[in-house]
Each structure stands twice: as structure tokens, then as C-alpha cells.
């Protein structure tokens, strides 16, 4: 598969994960050194009704996902795959070992973008750094994720 085909496969797999559908996450960028996902504010995602800000669980779940997809992008660089099922099989062997989230500012906004960067990818474990911004580029939260990759 070409990089673009793998990228589309990852976007499709991510869309089919039921919990991601609840949040409405979409993969917007899938590069080895830079992964980006986004979602829009909806009433179901609010954790503080008077202030209309995101629930912390939505933030941590999104950072966890973008960290995992970032690790996947690095792992896929060295793998030969020929179908979306094979991409899904690689991803299904991933698991979060550790996730650290710093909530820096209230999750206010209309659209949220989470980006992931690789800190290190080893043979079995990957470590990533993640950030969540809103549409005005306010940094809402940062995370560090450690993932088993197979």
C-alpha cells in the first residue's frame, strides 16, 4: 500500500472505533513525524455545563488516540502491508501502557485539534508527546503517552 492508502486506511479504522464516533474524532494528518486529529464541540462532550467546556475525559481520550496513531505512523514506516485489514491488525496489537495529561486551560472552543509527535520508537515500546489546541490556537492540554506496539 502507498502512504496515502495507509493514511486513508488509518482514518477509516479510526472512524469505525465506536468510542471515537461518540467524540467525533477524524484523522486529518498522518505523517511519521506529525499526526493530527480533530473534533468539533458538541453538547454531549461538555463536562462543565455553566462554562460550556469539554469534559476532561474527552481531552484525555483524544490525546490517547493521537498518541497511539502517532506511534502507529512510525511503526508503519517499516512495515509492508497490502490491505486495510493488515493495517487494522497492526493497530489492534497496540495498547496504552502509560498516559500523562496536564490540563492547562479550560477546554473552550468550537473545534479542537490534537497533534502527536514521536519522542522515541523502540522495538516494542513507543513514547509520544501530544498537544490539544482549540481553533484559536490556545493550548488546552498536553500529554505524554507510552504504548506497546506489538
Amino acid at each position: 500500500m502507498t502512504h496515502d492508502e495507509i493514511s486513508e486506511a488509518v482514518a477509516q479504522i479510526t472512524r469505525t472505533i465506536p468510542f471515537n464516533q461518540v467524540i467525533g474524532i477524524r484523522v486529518e494528518r498522518f505523517e511519521v513525524d506529525h499526526v493530527q486529529v480533530a473534533f468539533d464541540m458538541r453538547p454531549e462532550l461538555v463536562g462543565n455545563i455553566p462554562r460550556k467546556i469539554l469534559h476532561g475525559g474527552v481531552i484525555s481520550a483524544t490525546l490517547d488516540l493521537v498518541g497511539g496513531v502517532t506511534a502507529l505512523a512510525s511503526v508503519m514506516r517499516d512495515r509492508e502491508v497490502s490491505s486495510i485489514e493488515e493495517v487494522g491488525e497492526v493497530f489492534s496489537n497496540f495498547g496504552t501502557i502509560d498516559l500523562r495529561v496536564d490540563y492547562l486551560r479550560p477546554g473552550a472552543g468550537e473545534t479542537f485539534v490534537a497533534t502527536g509527535y514521536v519522542l522515541r520508537v523502540g522495538r516494542r515500546v513507543a513514547v509520544t508527546r501530544m498537544e490539544l489546541h482549540n481553533e484559536t490556537d490556545v493550548l488546552i492540554a498536553v500529554g505524554t503517552g507510552t504504548y506497546i506496539t506489538g
Binding site: D98, R100, D102, L104, R105, L119, R120, G122, V127, R129, L139, V142, T144, T146
Partner: protein, 137 residues
């Protein structure tokens, strides 16, 4: 910002001699960042010739303290509230450097991210930390 590494090192030597005595120094400081340096010391290496985790943690914590000075000025009573460190690969063979970058400066909390590497290999970080300093006074 007029703060210089010498200002910070003189301040730490005066206010916290133990940290200064360990040889750790601020070597660069600017708007929203600070760089801390640990001179290689064989007596502090762990088995395997590796720079120990506590040494890395101490330098990361110190870099965050330096970072707090860029926000508050040279005020001693910002204290560690939380630091989380992830060790990425073995650290060996040279001096250790830690760069702290500001994530957020609030009224009572200053959060930053720290990347640590062995001198000459900045592209291969040995650890990564995120931490918060609480402003007491």
C-alpha cells in the same frame, strides 16, 4: 528580559547552595525557556556507566525552577508541585543538558516541558519531563 545565566547561578548559589554545589548550572535563558547543564561526574554514574534517573530528574526539576525565574523574576518561593519524567533511552558518555520550555504561566502555577539529552546528541533525547511549579509567595 534582562535575566542572565550568571544572575540565576549567583542566586541559586546564595539561596540553595546544595543545588549549586552539585555542579548544575544555568547556561542559557530566554523568553519562555531555560537551559540547565550537568557536568559529567563519574562518581555519580549508576552501574553500566549510565547517568542515573535521579540525576536526570534533579536536572529536569532545576531547569523548571530556572524557567520559573523567567516568569517571576528571581524569587525563591516557587516550589515543585509535580514532575513526571519518561526515560526514553540510556544516557551515557557526556554532560547532560535539560531544556525547559514554558507551557503555561498562571497566577499560582507555572507549567513546563523539559527535554534532556547528552551533550552532542540533542536529536536523541534521553528523557522527557512535564512539570508544574507552584508559586507560594
Amino acid at each position: 528580559m534582562d535575566l542572565t545565566p550568571d544572575d540565576i547561578n549567583d542566586f541559586v548559589a546564595r539561596e540553595y547552595p546544595a543545588a549549586h554545589g552539585a555542579g548544575m548550572r544555568c547556561t542559557e535563558v530566554g523568553e519562555g525557556f531555560a537551559l540547565a547543564h550537568w557536568p559529567h561526574d563519574r562518581s555519580l554514574l549508576r552501574p553500566g556507566g549510565l547517568i542515573s534517573g535521579p540525576t536526570q530528574f534533579t536536572l529536569a526539576d532545576l531547569a523548571l525552577w530556572y524557567l520559573s525565574f523567567t516568569v517571576l523574576g528571581l524569587k525563591p518561593m516557587a516550589v515543585t508541585s509535580d514532575v513526571h519524567i519518561t526515560f526514553l533511552r540510556p544516557a551515557a558518555g557526556g554532560d547532560l543538558l535539560a531544556r525547559a520550555d514554558l507551557l503555561r504561566a498562571g497566577k499560582t502555577r507555572i507549567s513546563g516541558r523539559v527535554t534532556l539529552w547528552v551533550d552532542g546528541a540533542q536529536e536523541r533525547p534521553v528523557s522527557h519531563a512535564v512539570g508544574t511549579y507552584g508559586v507560594l509567595a
